[in-house]
Symmetry: C2
Subunit: 199 residues, 2 copies
């Protein structure tokens, strides 16, 4: 989140930013931000604040964004194709190398921006050859665990999962879930409360 904010500040030509200013952006306490950043090193300058360019570089390195990560998207459906062309990923330095699907008449095609659709049977080979760091799961719910197993078997250690429900994976594989339904439901909850409450 801080990185996102710093990107914007740098684009706007801002050279320096204080914890106070960041706190207002995020509706957080200034001490929180100083603790967060100080955890990784002393990036600030007393009396001045943080140099936007330097802090941005540090955060990118901490996040491992100093090297281009190769990403594969599983499932060339509506969502998979949309994610393959999502401009934000490339902008932040991620390299979407391929979509994988098992539907024969999709294989060989490309997304609008030119990401190739490959046979999921090719996954293991391509993972080894090209070095896939992250797999994005955009397949139907009922296929999710099966595809996750394939992804794990091909040696990928990080999964971004758009299917609902938890995946069963070994402990050395990290799964980050994005459950769109849960997101809408949390808004529904807010609205249901809101009729006669606060927060």
């Amino acid at each position: 989140m801080y990185l996102r904010c710093l990107n914007e500040l740098e684009d706007h030509g801002v050279r320096t930013v204080s914890s106070q200013a960041l706190a207002e952006q995020f509706h957080l306490n200034a001490a929180q931000i100083r603790k967060d950043l100080a955890y990784f090193g002393e990036f600030g300058v007393r009396g001045v604040g943080y140099y936007v360019r330097d802090l941005r570089r540090h955060l990118r390195q901490i996040l491992g964004l100093d090297q281009k990560l190769r990403v594969a998207i599983m499932g060339a459906g509506n969502l998979g194709l949309a994610l393959a062309d999502y401009p934000g990923f490339r902008q932040e330095g991620f390299d979407i190398i391929a979509l994988f699907d098992n539907e024969p008449n999709k294989i060989g095609l490309h997304s609008r921006s030119g990401v190739p659709i490959c046979d999921i049977a090719e996954l293991k080979r391509r993972a080894r050859r090209d070095g896939i760091s992250i797999a994005v799961l955009a397949v139907p719910a009922q296929a999710a665990q099966r595809v996750a197993d394939l992804v794990v078997a091909s040696g990928v250690k990080a999964i971004l999962n758009f299917s609902p429900g938890a995946l069963q994976v070994p402990t050395d594989v990290k799964v980050k879930g994005v459950d769109l339904t849960v997101s809408l439901e949390s808004l529904s909850f807010y609205l249901a409360r809101g009729e006669s409450g606060d927060t």
Copy 2:
């Protein structure tokens, strides 16, 4: 999350579930789950656990899912169209009534599953007429704040925001952000640590 799990249990014909069993599913402590559920009422039966069907009904009511909520998607790009046809939304009872865009040659078209693309100038009218509860923002980053302002002006009180960065909205409007880039970056962080660490 619990609701998602209960849906699955009910589909599998499971009648009753204990906090212990749920805890294993979610890698949580059983007391945690009992506290969470007991906060809203005494749904469990001592010596038995929770009746899946009853608990599911209770949770749906707590989340406000006992009434169909109408959802509008702002931005008929790749992502917007994919979200409009996402099966999970309808499955949970959300009603995607329309996509809104400002590109003249898109207006009047429909998504694959038949959601109409309307002129964003129609938003206010349709919000009043049809009663839009939630707006999903799937527009380019630079347009996000502008579109959010339109959404707020049309009286919608809940926004699911797929653009990066924070939106400025009145305090009575709830924004839930889904930042795809941040999700990938958190996986990148895990991988960067993982080379020589744990967690």
